[in-house]
């Protein structure tokens, strides 16, 4: 239980009020993202289907995309991945983990003011290729890098 939440409960007089407040937020916030969230892509179980959902089925490999990630990750629950695209007019970057049950991990839409760079941390169930799928100037490009996962076992 975090403090902020506890204080809020006290202020609003109980869980009912809290739920009502959330419901109000849900309607506004929910609709905003529901329109863009790539449901088909995130629910795809195969790499090819993810690519299709992104419109990137015929993407070409590009040397202008760099993936920064460890060769071996100590903890598959927190694998740092950064993608840098030097392709002109980079509009979108997606991170895809080929062997995850749902390969598409994240999509970043880049508006004019942002560079072709994103950094995040993702979960990986096993050793796999990590793909960066980049949309630049209306076309799709990819790069990939293998990340080995060692499960910590005990401790």
């Amino acid at each position: 239980m975090n403090i902020a939440r506890r204080t809020f409960l006290k202020l609003t007089g109980g869980a009912g009020a809290l739920a009502a407040a959330f419901a109000a937020g849900l309607v506004a916030g929910g609709q905003a993202w529901a329109a863009t969230w790539n449901k088909a892509g995130f629910e795809s179980k195969a790499l090819a289907d993810v690519m299709k959902s992104l419109g990137a089925a015929s993407a070409a490999e590009s040397k202008d995309i760099a993936i920064t990630a460890p060769d071996i990750a100590e903890n598959g629950a927190v694998v740092p991945v950064a993608v840098t695209s030097k392709l002109p007019n980079t509009q979108q970057i997606s991170i895809v983990v080929e062997k995850n049950p749902f390969p598409l991990a994240a999509t970043f839409d880049i508006a004019g003011g942002s560079e072709g760079y994103v950094s995040a941390r993702i979960k990986m169930g096993q050793t796999s290729d990590v793909w960066a799928v980049v949309k630049a100037d209306g076309k799709y490009y990819t790069a990939r890098k293998e990340v080995k996962i060692t499960v910590g076992g005990c401790g």
Binding site: A106, G113, E115, I122
Partner: protein, 106 residues
């Protein structure tokens, strides 16, 4: 209602290096708790980053983003004192907005 984010924005030339930390369980809907019950799916689906009110990054996330997520990006044409806004929204409709100002180069 959620814990505040930690937003750092530092200038390198006219590019702001923005680093955001959020506290969120990012439940996959597959984990079992101590009692052996499935913990329901609960994850941030969207993070929107603004620069002086204008959207510069609009993300869609799945439950495969790690717990207590991190997001790093770089914003062009930034100046000291510029406002960086971040709003996340999760699949339960919970959301949180925080703001930081761009620090001058150190």
């Amino acid at each position: 209602m959620a814990e505040p984010m930690k937003i750092r924005a530092t200038l390198q030339g006219d590019v702001a290096d923005v680093r955001i930390l959020m506290m969120h369980p990012m439940e996959t809907g597959q984990r079992k708790d101590a009692k052996g019950e499935i913990v329901p799916l609960h994850f941030i689906q969207s993070v929107v980053v603004t620069h002086n009110g204008k959207t510069v990054l609009d993300t869609q996330w799945s439950q495969a983003v790690s717990r207590n997520p991190f997001l790093g990006l770089r914003i062009k044409g930034a100046k000291p004192g510029d406002k960086i806004g971040v709003t996340w929204t999760d699949n339960k409709g919970d959301k949180r907005t925080d703001e930081a100002t761009v620090a001058p180069p150190s």
